[in-house]
């Protein structure tokens, strides 16, 4: 199930909220636990079993780790290792098996490992990471053990952030699981956040996505220099509004249920450096890799060369996390390169240069990066780069480009403005009275106009679903 669907908004959500608020406090987690499984199993009911298995393993191992942590360090460590291996093995099996099979077969030159062609359990990359964080934090003494199976299960499968993040670490919600405040303040801010996310996803991302689909489907012979830039810029906006819209909806839904999740995006496209971009883009993933990979590898404490190597390792993994394709790893390495260059000297240089240079440089790196991210093979990637930089046969600009530029002009301007905090700041500067009247109107519009698009639309992809 996805949030931006009629099923979720008009059947699942009203039922979940109604029963949740009618129930006495002590039953609420159980209710969430049940509806989480419905949400998760909607597309692939069989994988509910996988989810229950994953919850149980982590739950039991955590109790064992807690039991031995202070008395038998080695035993506790063994349980942690065992648990981490199982989690990663599940992820590797369901997500990467076919990639490894294909790679091995290609190297050997014959099919020695048959690909399985399994459907990817939705959100496995997200929930594996967040589940794993709990026993690790427990071992490190950063959180306390959760003895209540339902509470723990509710955390792992919590539907707002189950399938596309934010990746919520256990320690960040541990207290909220057993005690959380429900208030009109929180619920109404959840409503506002949800409708903003819905509008970003349905009205902006889906619409600008049509432009990218048009250009990415064009044969190289017709793809011009300007056209290929329009296309990938459209994707640049699509993926941001798609993913950050989804995170907004998740955070909003969490608040409606009394949870407070950490932010996942902070206007990444206004960054002046690539380093800053990654502090603003998919924050929860960056945090996870920092806490559970980069720092354990030694971070920056073991000399410069080791630090650069650590950055490279983290980003190769970050890339691969995004999808079972070597192009994703390449995309990660591409960013590692820029991050390392910035660390070595570019940050200082950019600091002295005028702001607009940093903005342009960062956007070009991000835009060119998305080509690597979104196209499926190196052949397609290099052919698209050729078009972008005038080494292909498509020419510079045609009347078709003029048509699409005109037809999507309003949309592109909306995208640029909505990528900055401008509207938010303007809204907050309004007198309180105006805001009090405007907010309910915007909530209704933000719910109903996307609904019209959902009723009519056949185009409602969800980009981060594959991860």
């Amino acid at each position: 199930m996805v949030f931006s669907s009629l099923l979720f908004m008009f059947i699942y959500l009203p039922v979940v909220l109604a029963v949740y608020y009618i129930s006495p406090l002590k039953w609420r987690n159980l209710w969430l636990f049940i509806v989480n499984l419905v949400f998760y199993g909607w597309g692939e009911p069989v994988y509910i079993a996988l989810m229950l298995f994953s919850i149980s393993i982590n739950y039991i191992n955590a109790i064992m780790i807690d039991k031995y942590r202070d008395t038998n360090q080695r035993k506790a460590r063994n349980f942690l290792t065992f648990n981490t291996v199982i989690n990663l093995a599940l992820l590797a099996f369901f997500k990467y098996f076919d990639l490894f099979a294909a790679t091995i077969n290609q190297i050997v030159g014959t099919e020695i490992v048959a690909p399985l062609g399994l459907a990817l359990p939705i959100g496995i990359s997200f929930y594996t990471f967040q589940t794993m964080s709990y026993p690790i934090d427990l071992y490190r003494g950063d959180t306390r053990v959760q003895k209540n199976f339902i509470s723990f299960g509710t955390y792992v499968a919590l539907f707002p952030q189950l399938i596309a993040g934010p990746i919520v670490r256990y320690r960040d919600v541990a207290e909220q699981l057993d005690y959380r405040v429900h208030s009109a303040d929180k619920f109404s801010s959840g409503v506002r956040r949800f409708t903003i996310g819905l509008a970003k996803k349905v009205l902006i991302a889906n619409n600008i996505g049509v432009l990218w689909d048009t250009y990415s489907a064009m044969p190289t012979t017709e793809l011009t220099v300007v056209g290929s830039w329009i296309g990938i810029i459209a994707f640049t906006f699509q993926i941001y509004f798609d993913f950050s819209g989804y995170s907004d909806m998740a955070i909003g839904l969490g608040r409606m249920l009394g949870f407070e999740f950490l932010e996942n995006f902070n206007y990444p496209y206004i960054s002046k450096t690539v380093t800053e971009f990654w502090r603003r883009w998919h924050i929860s993933l960056g945090t996870w890799f920092r806490d559970y990979v980069y720092i354990p590898l030694g971070g920056n404490r073991r000399g410069k060369y080791r630090q650069l190597l650590n950055i490279a390792i983290v980003w190769a993994l970050t890339g691969l996390w995004h999808g079972a394709n070597w192009t994703f790893m390449l995309w990660g390495m591409y960013y590692a390169l820029f991050l390392i260059i910035e660390k070595l000297w570019l940050l200082k240089a950019l600091d002295r240069a005028p702001n607009f240079i940093g903005h342009i440089y960062t956007m070009i790196v991000a835009i060119c990066g998305w080509v690597l991210f979104q196209l499926d093979s190196l052949a397609e990637v290099s052919s698209y780069y050729k078009s972008m930089f005038g080494f292909a046969e498509g020419g510079f600009f045609t009347s078709t480009d003029a048509y699409y530029l005109e037809a999507f002009a309003v949309m592109l301007i909306v995208c640029v403005i909505a990528s900055t905090p401008l509207l938010k700041n303007l809204f907050n500067r309004l007198p309180e009275k105006v805001r009090s009247v405007a907010a309910p109107v915007l909530v209704v519009a933000g719910l109903l106009i996307p609904t019209a698009y959902l009723v009519d639309s056949s185009y409602n992809p969800f980009l981060y679903f594959r991860f």
Binding site: I11, P14, L447, L448, S457
Partner: protein, 378 residues
């Protein structure tokens, strides 16, 4: 933000999502959408097997979408807001001046086109009777100047030229006939078909190609049978605030004319105009009663030749004009006639029914995409 405002936001949000849930549960399911001219998805049957195969959940989502309360209104809201944001089209349909809805043309798959034109050539070369070949361009070609500037719209003229070079038949220049009357009401504004006037110009170019005389426009008493026709392009677009089309009749059915429809295999007597269809959404099917594999028209002109027409639905509104020129006309639509032809070829059909002349007449769109045209060459 005031506390009151916050409560209002909560109430509005929860009320809206619950109200539509209640309406969805309370309102009876709709079988058929008049506006979209299609059957709507019905509630899927729940079985464990359906659930675990994912079929149930998948179908349930399209069920909600199709049966969502006030569906037609939502579609209009969406179409309107698309056009408001500067888009020129909704679902590939352009809203042009004078409430004209035009769907842009996309160049066909060359492989299918070549296969189809090869079939025409095979028929032309092997048949013992003259074969005429006519392609009808659509509104996107004839009225291309109405489309927004630079809108992607491929040439149908190129397709016609390519086909005419390779058909091996006597080609009929319908394109020029329509082009020279492009400022007249020759295409419906809300449907992909030509109007009866457009069909009349098609008829004149056909007669010219066959060396037969044609009746002047003044010979017909034009009469309007409906001015409330909303066609297929309207249905597809969601742009439902345009004015309706008018359907006219030019050539009346002669008293001596007998029409037999073989839609179920057996011959059923019918008429050139099925006025009952004017009560339905798809009013164009008034012409010859809509889709059918085979329909025959026998006229009082017993000395005139017999004609076989292999065609699509554009022919329905042209057919009445042919009554004076032929003794008997067989109209075959290969899309629905397929099974019969697996046993007997078109060539056998020509021989068995003593056909004197053959006309292959399609709209450019259908000819280039229909996968059944190969049957001509068997």
């Amino acid at each position: 933000m005031t506390k009151t405002s916050k409560w209002i936001q909560i109430l509005l949000f929860t009320a809206l999502i619950s109200v539509f849930l209640a309406l969805f549960l309370a309102m009876p399911d709709v079988l058929f959408s008049e506006q979209e001219n299609r059957k709507l998805t019905q509630a899927p049957q729940f079985t464990l097997e359906n659930l675990f195969s994912g079929k149930f959940t998948q179908k349930f989502e399209s069920y909600i979408t199709d049966q969502f309360p006030l569906r037609d209104r939502w579609i209009t809201v969406k179409a309107r807001s698309e056009l408001l944001t500067g888009k020129k089209e909704n679902k590939g349909v352009y809203l042009c001046e004078d409430d004209t809805l035009i769907e842009a043309y996309k160049a066909p798959d060359p492989a299918q086109l070549e296969k189809n034109i090869d079939a025409v050539r095979t028929l032309s070369e092997s048949a013992d009777v003259p074969v005429y070949f006519a392609l009808i361009p659509g509104a996107a070609e004839i009225h291309s100047s109405l489309l927004p500037k630079n809108a992607p719209n491929d040439s149908q003229k190129d397709v016609i030229n390519f086909c005419y070079e390779n058909s091996g038949a006597v080609n009929v220049d319908i394109y020029s006939a329509l082009q020279s009357h492009s400022d007249e009401y020759i295409f419906y504004r809300t449907d992909h078909h030509w109007t009866s006037l457009g069909a009349y110009y098609g008829y004149t170019s056909l007669m010219d190609a066959m060396g037969l005389g044609h009746s002047p426009l003044t010979a017909f008493d034009r009469r309007t049978v409906t001015d409330e026709f909303f066609g297929t392009v309207y249905s597809k677009s969601g742009i439902n605030w345009v004015k309706p089309d008018t359907i006219e009749i030019f050539a009346e059915q002669d008293e001596a004319t007998t029409v037999l429809n073989y839609s179920e295999g057996e011959a059923v007597k019918t008429e050139l105009y099925d006025y009952g269809c004017l009560e339905k959404k798809d009013k164009y099917s008034m012409f010859m009663g809509g889709i059918t594999p085979l329909i025959t028209v026998e006229t009082g002109n017993t000395d005139a030749p017999t004609l076989l027409v292999v065609r699509d639905s554009y022919m329905d509104s042209l057919a009445p004009f042919l009554q004076n020129s032929f003794s008997k006309i067989y109209f075959i639509d290969l899309r629905y006639y397929k099974t019969q032809f697996m046993q007997s070829s078109i060539r056998n059909f020509i021989r068995e029914n003593s056909i004197d002349e053959v006309l292959v007449c399609y709209s450019v769109y259908n000819f280039a995409t229909d996968a059944n045209v190969f049957l001509l060459g068997l």
